[in-house]
C-alpha cells in the first residue's frame, strides 16, 4: 500500500486508539497471521531473507498506520494488501531477481477472447496425484507473479473474490478472469513437467 493510499484511508476513517489498544490489536488481530504472511511473501520472493524482510516491513507499516484499521474488520485482508503493495512498490525494484516476464504482454495475450480456446492442456488428475508437493510448487513458481498471486490468495489462503479485489486493487470481474487464466497456466506448466518426467504417455 502506498503511503498516499494509507494516508487517504486514514483521513477517511481514522481511529484514535490508545497505546494499550494498539498493542492489543497488534497482538490479537495482526500477529495470528504471521505464518500466512510469511508463506505468501516467500511465494512472491523465493528467498527466505527477502520474505522475512517483507513481512517485517509489512508489520511495521501496519503498526504505523494502525489508526486506519477498524477493529473487528478483516485484518488478514488488510495486511495482505499492505504486503502485496510493499512487494510491488518497493521490494520488486530492489529485488535480487528482477521480473523476467513482461506482465502486460502476458495479460494482453490471456485477455484475448479466444485465449481459452488456445489452451489445450493435456493433464490428468492421476498425473497430479503422482507428483510431489515440491513439483507442484515449482510449477506454480514458474508462472508470472500476478497470476501466481491470485492462486495463492484463493486456493491457499481462502480469500473470496471480493476480498481479492480489495487486496489487489482490481475489479472483481478481473479477479475471476485472471484466476481462470492463472489456473490454466498452472495446468500447462504441470503438463509440461509431466511430459518431461515421462508421466504423460
Amino acid at each position: 500500500m502506498s503511503t498516499e493510499t494509507i494516508q487517504d484511508e486514514q483521513e477517511a476513517k481514522r481511529q484514535n486508539y490508545s497505546e494499550a489498544e494498539k498493542s492489543d490489536i497488534f497482538d490479537t488481530e495482526f500477529m495470528p497471521h504471521v505464518d500466512s504472511m510469511y508463506s505468501f511473501a516467500y511465494r512472491l520472493t523465493f528467498d527466505e531473507d527477502d520474505a522475512k524482510d517483507l513481512v517485517q516491513d509489512t508489520y511495521m507499516k501496519a503498526f504505523r498506520f494502525i489508526n486506519s484499521f477498524e477493529r473487528g474488520t478483516n485484518a488478514k485482508a488488510w495486511l495482505f494488501r499492505i504486503l502485496k503493495n510493499s512487494f510491488i512498490n518497493e521490494f520488486r525494484k530492489k529485488s535480487k531477481q528482477p521480473a523476467k516476464v513482461d506482465y502486460n504482454e502476458v495479460e494482453q495475450y490471456y485477455n484475448s477472447d479466444d485465449a481459452g480456446e488456445k489452451i489445450t492442456t493435456d493433464l490428468r488428475v492421476e498425473t497430479v496425484q503422482h507428483m510431489i508437493g515440491d513439483e507442484v510448487s515449482g510449477a506454480l513458481n514458474a508462472i508470472p507473479v500476478d497470476f501466481r498471486t491470485v492462486i495463492i490468495l484463493s486456493d491457499l489462503e481462502g480469500f473470496t473474490y471480493e476480498e481479492m479485489s480489495k487486496i489487489l486493487d482490481i475489479p472483481i470481474g478481473t479477479v475471476r478472469s485472471r484466476l481462470h487464466r492463472a489456473r490454466n497456466m498452472l495446468k500447462e506448466k504441470l503438463a509440461e513437467y509431466a511430459k518431461e518426467m515421462g508421466f504423460n504417455k
Binding site: 488428475v125 491457499l156 470481474g173 481462470h180
Partner: protein
C-alpha cells in the same frame, strides 16, 4: 455473488447447443471455477446443478475439475515454507512491543 449472475447466464448459453449438448468445454470450465470458488449465486447454482444431473459430459468435466483442484491444493499445502522461529519476536521488536 450477484455480480456474476448475468455473466453466468450468457456464458452458460455459449456452452450448449440447441439440443442441450455441451459444445464449449473451455467456457464451461469457467462456470465450474465460479461454482467451486463458491462465487455463484443461488439461481446460477440451481441451473448448474440441474445440468450436472442431466448431462454426462458436464458432470464428468465438473468432477474432473473438482478433483484436479483438490489435488493441486493438497500438494501446494503440503509444501509450505518453514516459518523462521524468530520471526514473531523480530516483528514485535521492530515495533517496540
Amino acid at each position: 455473488m450477484a455480480e456474476f449472475s448475468e455473466w453466468f447466464k450468457v456464458t452458460f448459453e455459449k456452452c450448449y447447443c440447441e439440443q442441450g449438448n455441451l459444445i464449449n468445454e473451455s467456457k464451461f470450465k469457467e462456470l465450474v471455477q465460479l461454482v467451486l470458488d463458491n462465487e455463484a449465486d443461488e439461481a446460477s447454482l440451481e441451473i448448474f446443478e440441474e445440468k450436472i444431473r442431466t448431462c454426462v459430459k458436464s458432470s464428468f468435466t465438473f468432477e474432473s475439475e473438482k478433483s484436479m483442484r483438490e489435488q493441486i491444493r493438497a500438494k501446494l499445502t503440503e509444501h509450505q515454507a518453514d516459518i523462521p522461529n524468530d520471526l514473531a519476536q523480530a516483528i514485535r521488536k521492530s515495533v517496540n512491543l
